[in-house]
Symmetry: C2
Subunit: 355 residues, 2 copies
């Protein structure tokens, strides 16, 4: 495995933006996409950061993503809106939709915005954090092609359907959870296989529909297990209801894989964004959440545990470090960015720090 490389956040953002512009996006849309991907890497969430750029560029070149797509509001009311993403970059549609939810929440207290004709939108947490950065509670979620079993099924029934929230927290950075409804991401299964290890029986459902501890069976002969069994499955169906059924988007098997399927065709992903305006409803909210976080930090710790973290705390600490010292990109991300550079006819070395 080649070693990683360091890049400043502005350089990473510039690289992504330049690549998107060369793929035909407007400068504003290119900036939006680059901001999402570079922030995600700055949080240390490398699976959903600039590593995915390469795949988006391929879809943009093939036409499944429209470089000049324009998300638009198809219907709306005081506390809701539906958005047709026009097959534009998932980040462009999602930022558009969350901004609409924020604006409506400021007028009405809260709002739901459903999205159809979107694509993979990266890290759900970004959009939730967008709301929290403006003083609102934000939630974001999306559906995806099935990869997770239902309790009792032996094949995939729902997507890993990400769910994120962020809540303003006074002197602390926002609480921020970004979870999938699967026990673990597929990447963790691959990593265990590479290390030659068995996996906990809660991660995968084997070909007979029963739990398996054999990572080599994935993804050909096993599927991901839902987190906490019926709880994760139940959340998956709530997300599918809000992000797929209510938004008018495709659901489950109607969705195409953004990585695996024909890049010349749209994927038809759905998403949902909710914003609740704390400033309208209760000015105390951030300070009460601040106290809640202080309380968690002060709780008695398990043997061997130095610190208790609230959701998002680790990501915000990495963000601060990334901003100050640059992002140390893992080797797989660097390799992906090299492909992206080749697709864009850009020289990645111009953007990387010299080690």
């Amino acid at each position: 495995m080649t070693s990683g490389r360091t890049i400043t956040v502005p350089s990473l953002r510039a690289f992504c933006s330049d690549a998107f512009e060369r793929a035909g996006l407007s400068p504003a849309d290119a900036q939006t996409g680059a901001e999402v991907l570079s922030t995600t890497d700055a949080w240390g969430v490398f699976t959903h950061g600039s590593k995915v750029l390469r795949g988006y560029l391929r879809r943009l070149a093939a036409g499944g993503l429209k470089a000049r797509g324009r998300p638009r509001v198809t219907s709306e009311g005081p506390a809701w809106g539906l958005v047709d993403g026009d097959s534009s970059l998932g980040m462009v549609t999602s930022v558009f939709a969350m901004k609409l939810a924020i604006s409506k929440a400021r007028d009405s207290g809260m709002a739901y915005v459903g999205v159809r004709n979107s694509c993979h939108f990266g890290a759900a947490g970004y959009y939730a954090a967008l709301a929290a950065g403006e003083g609102l509670i934000g939630l974001s979620m999306a559906n995806d092609i099935p990869s997770v079993a239902a309790p009792g099924s032996r094949s995939a029934v729902t997507g890993s359907n990400p769910l994120a929230y962020a809540v303003p927290a006074g002197r602390h950075r926002p609480l921020m959870l970004d979870m999938s409804i699967a026990t673990v991401a597929g990447g963790k299964v691959y990593a265990a296989r590479e290390r030659g290890e068995r996996i906990p029986a809660t991660w995968l459902i084997g070909p007979d529909g029963l739990p398996t501890d054999d990572p080599s069976s994935f993804p050909g002969h096993s599927v991901l297990a839902p987190a906490a069994a019926h709880k994760g499955f139940g959340l998956a169906l709530l997300i599918e209801s809000l992000a797929g059924c209510l938004s008018g988007a495709a659901t489950t098997w109607q969705i195409s894989s953004w990585m695996g399927d024909d890049p010349s065709r749209p994927t038809f992903h759905g998403a949902a964004f909710l914003a609740i305006d704390a400033a309208t409803i209760s000015h105390d909210l951030p300070y009460r959440v601040e106290q809640l976080i202080d309380e968690v930090h002060a709780a008695p710790r398990a043997v061997g545990v130095d610190r208790l973290y609230v959701p998002g705390e680790l990501e915000w600490e990495r963000f601060t470090a990334s901003t100050a010292e640059g992002v140390r990109l893992p080797a797989d991300v660097v390799a992906s960015l090299q492909d992206a550079a080749a697709l864009s006819d850009l020289d990645l070395r111009r953007y990387l720090e010299s080690d």
Copy 2:
């Protein structure tokens, strides 16, 4: 263990209502409380049905619950409201709040209603189902005194914070999930201890903060573990933010135990209710959810599995059977109802079926 007894749903409802009226509630409020508890038993969710009546009657007698409390709206906007429950029965306040959310959602598309000065509200699913019964997507949640560890803590940090949703589903009964953010309820730990069994290591956190498989340590020397670790913990903090911090309610250790603490003092629980009006946003919603359920039912099954269930399906089947054949109350529920009858000077035998 004494055997259970059968009671018709109307008789169960009448018993609860009569008991509430004798405790001083208005006939309308008594009916509301009785409807929630008898519906919960009809679903087969006996831990949260009429078994809890006894505890409410004690609080009503001691004054911690106000028999003639009147929930009122303290502030509101187009898509939100805050309700002070005035220490009335949790069911009375919660039905009032969900009806407010439904009404606002019909006007604005969706709404949030936060509640303070409430108490234990029984089964969260009831309020979500109330919205779904009127064609809306409903969500309900509440905070509670801490009983669940955070990842890395060795004591309780959050409540088991119930979260429920219900979604209209066309020809099917609504999708309905009612979950706690703990891996399992404390009752399951007690049951394992009674059977002399060890428990899975995901259920409890022992006195050193590490997982334990010893059910005898609970609740004195161990606490419940959050479902799927950081995911359940993260959801607990979202629920605390919406049901406690935003609503103006008490949070975590400020809340009193509705069972264990001084019954003459309010418990100060918080809750939150959300309603999304499918009829306003997308008429297709129920039919698309109906198809989603059909798809789950048709998925390939694991070895030994006869049927795949969606959330709430089992509860609705039990509800149909309970309505037709009466509810077979477990012995612990009958014993609790006998206490409730004694507190109310009612004759339980008048309500039970003769076996």
